[in-house]
Symmetry: C2
Subunit: 330 residues, 2 copies
């Protein structure tokens, strides 16, 4: 008997707990196939009947010929929150594609707070000073209580970060596309308010999607608007900040701090890590290897959320996190 259940193809090789989550969330009403379980001939055959494709990193998991062979494909579920590294041009323009936006919001927000506090408390600076024999007990560090925290991009990560910063007494000035939010903020506006927001911020968190609008958003001019002791945190995409301008700004403003978790050239997106300037040696930089989402259980939670969203599509309901024209490079 030929199965008539819709075929869901998982392009990567998830660990056992994530496989179980896919099975549980998608239920028995579909044919669930993991590419890594299939012989080449089975994969070729499965492509033709795939209704849903689930992928972790399509850049390395899916070739153009695979997509061309997926003639029954109705929906693509990506398991990552950011999708700028996904070769979206491979897919038909009218094929619905969903990201996993918000799946890592809580651990990422906690990471934002960790880096911000490390900068505010000068942890790496004073550890180094102690190693060099200086015990700077009375050099002031800073408190987030009462600080103005600008959050550029008020999606899942931005809102989760805002909740943590508020718990420490900071005031939230948010920027998003609509200029409105149901969250408790001191200010919310669109990018039209960017200059005002940057000028009053003690902390600037970049948690925007990378789009044609946001690429290069923070350049020399925008850095110049910020306070000379501001803390800039980037957990979005390197390309949103002008790399050369940031390096120059850090060298010229030793009280300015940059907390960089996302980079311009990175392994997942580009196959390697590379920087144009020695950011890692600056005393006013805290660097992290794009690992804010790497907490125990995060990949499992991402699998669960992605599978649940694919199930919605299979059930004829509207899936969440559908990519808009701006994210698809329209």
């Amino acid at each position: 008997m030929i199965t008539t259940l819709p075929c869901v193809l998982v392009a990567h090789d998830p660990p056992p707990d994530a496989r179980a989550a896919f099975r549980q969330e998608l239920g028995s009403g579909c044919e669930l196939l993991f590419r890594s379980d299939l012989a080449p001939a089975e994969w070729d055959a499965a492509r033709a009947r795939a209704r849903v494709l689930i992928a972790q990193n399509p850049r390395i998991e899916i070739a153009a010929e695979d997509v061309a062979a997926m003639t029954s494909l109705g929906f693509v579920q990506l398991l990552t929150a950011g999708v700028d590294h996904v070769p979206l041009h491979l897919f038909p323009r009218d094929l619905p594609i969903a990201s996993n936006a918000g799946a890592f919001a809580e651990p990422m927000a906690e990471f934002v707070l960790a880096m911000t506090l490390a900068a505010a408390k000068r942890l790496p600076v004073e550890h180094r000073e102690m190693r060099e024999g200086r015990f700077n007990q009375f050099v002031a560090n800073r408190t987030l209580d009462g600080a103005v925290c600008a959050i550029l991009g008020f999606g899942g990560v931005g809102r989760a970060a805002a909740r943590l910063f508020r718990a420490l007494g900071a005031e939230i000035h948010a920027i998003n596309r609509g200029g409105e939010t149901a969250e408790e903020v001191a200010f919310v506006g669109t990018l039209a308010a960017l200059e005002d927001v940057l000028r009053r911020a003690d902390i600037v968190v970049v948690s925007l999607s990378l789009t044609a609008t946001t690429a290069g958003l923070i350049g020399a001019g925008e850095l110049g608007w910020m306070k000379d002791d501001a803390i800039l945190v980037n957990v979005a995409r390197g390309e949103i900040v002008d790399q050369d301008a940031l390096y120059r700004h850090l060298v010229e403003n030793e009280r300015f701090f940059a907390c960089l978790e996302s980079w311009w050239i990175e392994p997942v997106r580009h196959g390697r890590f590379s920087i144009a300037h020695p950011f890692l040696d600056l005393p006013n930089v805290i660097a992290a290897p794009h690992n804010s989402a790497s907490v125990p259980g995060a990949q499992l939670e991402a699998a669960r959320r992605g599978a649940r969203n694919a199930r919605r599509w299979l059930d004829g309901k509207a899936p969440s996190n559908l990519l808009g024209a701006d994210e698809r490079g329209a």
Copy 2:
């Protein structure tokens, strides 16, 4: 006319804003004198009529002969929260002495969170790894959401830290003298529960006063009870933790993290910083120069609180933070 107003002697040289706070809080109903304003003969005369002594660091500000000359002294207000470095033996045993406990609770709690998060997110480790060319994007870091946070000493700092940790989703297991608290905790008990609490803790915050009971409280046995990847944070006094045992434990348990803000031999208490082992070079140590209270406005706030407490004594009311027999080495 000889003044009949009670004389309040300030032993250190406060900055202008703190002087103004002393004047404001103590009011016009006393003779307020700053030692640094007095000629030697004036100081000698002032000593004899001082009713209240306010001091920042009596070890260097006050000599035995000064105290002997203070024959009218009725109350001593210390401006620091910890008092183990104060030469209390100089003062009569029945003279009331108050600390400034809790004056720095909020900034210190924020510092505790900063160090804990830096350890949980492996910030110094991964920055160093990146510098050495490794981009460990998928090495797991930890979240405080759901973590068990033990707080040893549930005074001002401990309670303020608990509020921050709770906001991040951690569960609080507190230890204090009474074994009771009005705070929202998952567990509260006395030191009798220490082993159980240490065994289940992901994070252990030491925020106890240094007394005969707490000196050496955390030794090799207690470290052995902790999880091998626990995070130990000491913002109290070095002496509460056995220095040799801690160093050995850190070397033998590379997943164990120590966040050390207070030390065994420190400038304010001992005139110099000195450690018996190279803690500063260990990858699983985050070191800070006892600076958790050094935020803008903290000294001013301490002056204000201390002056207000002295005012209470002058008004015949019971002052806060009177030192108990255990803190006075009874």
